[in-house]
């Protein structure tokens, strides 16, 4: 009797898992395998694919735009992630401290996160407009010459970063708030009794105990930033003069505008390798923290 139940049990389990598995296979694993294959071919969507071995990679090596795009992506990650982590932590601390209007504050900071990317980018692009945008007007008020942010080769990327940070930290603040609320106040009270001041409490209690959140925010933001496409595409289309073009945008252009499918995929693969490192880290950390929980 027990064996029969176990068998049916197993069958049922497979059944439960089957739809997910089938869809995963078809829409993730198979395209993934294909994506690796495509790298070795030249194909322009009209004709038949032609095997060219490592041809796409040799092309990549000498392609100035590829290297520039790769750098722009990395530059974006470097500029974006630290402010997101630090600012969301600090603002969460602020909201969590002994002040009033907590609900209003939490909603206010989260609100931008609920907006669609297009709304955020179109609005900010207008704010950045040097001829009639609000930022320009405020600069004029202080006697400064308005900067043409999105057309300035130096400022364009930082401007896009600022918009991204504004858009994203809402969610990270919520994560930090959740983490902060889990720290028992007794820890702080004990520390205060021991004579620790505000800063010491933050450095020795708060920050270490939020390790899981730090890591979660850090890794998810790095992975998301590496894939950056929308904000740049909408605000500068990779300009000015290609100075903000990210790797994903270059992949999109080569693949969907000039139809160099194999080449585009080869570059996407490079991006994937970079992300793989972080995705693997994220996975290990998630499993580790999950294991912790079950003990």
């Amino acid at each position: 009797m027990a064996v029969y139940r176990k068998k049916r049990h197993a069958l049922l389990a497979y059944l439960f898992f089957a739809p997910f598995l089938v869809l995963l296979l078809i829409f993730r694993l198979i395209p993934f395998v294909n994506s690796i294959r495509m790298i070795f071919y030249k194909w322009d969507i009209f004709g038949t694919p032609r095997y060219i071995g490592l041809g796409n990679f040799t092309r990549m090596m000498s392609d100035k735009t590829f290297w520039a795009s790769l750098w722009h992506t990395v530059y974006f990650v470097i500029l974006t992630v630290p402010p997101i982590v630090v600012l969301s932590f600090l603002i969460a601390l602020l909201i969590n401290s002994r002040i009033s209007f907590k609900n209003f504050l939490r909603s206010a900071f989260y609100l931008p996160y609920t907006l669609t990317i297009s709304v955020v980018c179109i609005t900010w692009a207008m704010l950045y407009n040097p001829y009639f945008g609000m930022i320009g007007r405020i600069m004029k008020f202080f006697g400064l010459e308005p900067i043409n942010w999105l057309s300035d080769p130096f400022w364009a990327m930082p401007a896009i970063v600022a918009t991204t940070v504004w858009w994203t930290i809402g969610f990270c603040i919520v994560l930090y708030l959740a983490g902060l609320q889990q720290i028992p106040t007794s820890y702080y009270e004990a520390a205060e009794l021991d004579g620790a001041n505000g800063f010491q409490r933050m450095f020795f209690i708060t920050i270490p105990l939020l390790k899981r959140v730090h890591v979660l925010v850090l890794v998810t933001q790095i992975i998301a930033s590496l894939q950056i496409f929308g904000q740049v595409y909408i605000m500068t289309a990779g300009g000015p003069a290609g100075r903000t073009r990210t790797l994903m945008q270059y992949v999109y252009e080569q693949g969907f505008r000039y139809f160099r499918m194999g080449y585009a995929q080869a570059m996407a693969f490079v991006l994937f390798l970079v992300m793989f490192v972080f995705a693997y880290l994220q996975l290990r950390l998630m499993i580790a923290s999950a294991k912790e929980e079950l003990v």
Partner: protein, 268 residues
């Protein structure tokens, strides 16, 4: 002490208001005529509701909104239908190969959507799902994130509840639907909100998959609007932005209580 509290509160509130300035401006600008916008005014010299009329008449805003709604809702519901049983199986059932299937389900984390966008597009095209909302919904269904969050939560539910139900004669399906699922509500809410937001805000994939402007989702449509129509300038574009944002803001205000709770609980 109380003084410090007042000071911090004022600082925090001012900070929040400054933080919201872009949103406030967006709202005000949607009521301004082009002259006002070009003069960088804050308050419109007269409240120009015509922008809203223009945008509603000229742009397919309602269509795009419906497209986004259908695809985000359809995908979210589909994800729950597909991933809840999978998570349940992998977290609360014993069967040969469970560990392998669990690891397999996590591979989705390693495969970022944009790395496979091109072959995925070609595949979707072969299925005839290009320019179709199903082309957004179906590929979104196998979500490793959903399975992970759900299974993590389900694993932590004590066996007692399940055993009690089984003693009462419940079968596997009953246990899943009537015992485990209700207790996993915070995780379900988190998964729902996360995925709904992701799919609603997705820009890259709908950009590739949709070919006619009738099928655009809201983000893609808004950008197309801002980029191409020569007659629709700044005021109406801002009106479009406001209209596009209102529903989500409203939903958030309702859901926010659940969201924080859900996040807190799934962080544990």
């Amino acid at each position: 002490m109380k003084f410090k509290r007042y000071l911090l509160t004022i600082f925090a509130v001012v900070l929040a208001l400054v933080y919201l300035i872009p949103l406030i401006w967006m709202f005000l600008a949607s009521f301004q005529s082009e002259k006002d916008i070009l003069a960088s005014k804050w308050i419109p010299s007269q409240w120009f509701a015509a922008n809203y009329k223009i945008i509603l008449q000229r742009a397919k805003l309602a269509t795009w909104f419906v497209n986004s709604l259908i695809s985000a809702t359809g995908a979210t519901v589909g994800i729950l239908l597909v991933c809840i049983p999978a998570a349940y199986a992998v977290s609360r059932m014993e069967f040969p190969g469970r560990k392998i299937l669990y690891l397999l389900s996590l591979t989705g984390f390693m495969i970022p959507g944009q790395a496979i966008a091109i072959p995925l597009y070609l595949l979707v095209r072969r299925f005839g799902l290009v320019n179709n909302l199903l082309g957004i919904i179906i590929p979104a269904l196998p979500s490793s994130m959903a399975v992970f969050i759900l299974s993590q939560f389900m694993k932590a539910i004590p066996l007692d509840y399940e055993e009690a139900a089984r003693l009462d004669g419940a079968n596997e399906l009953d246990v899943m639907l009537k015992v485990i699922l209700p207790m996993s509500l915070p995780a379900v809410v988190t998964v729902t909100v996360l995925h709904f937001t992701w799919i609603w805000n997705d820009f890259f994939w709908p950009l590739i998959v949709m070919t006619s402007d009738k099928m655009y989702t809201l983000p893609v449509g808004l950008v197309a609007l801002a980029a191409s129509d020569v007659n629709i300038r700044y005021g109406p574009i801002m009106a479009a932005n406001v209209l596009a944002s209102l529903p989500v803001i409203v939903v958030y205000i309702f859901m926010q209580r659940y969201l924080t709770r859900g996040v807190v609980l799934s962080l544990r």
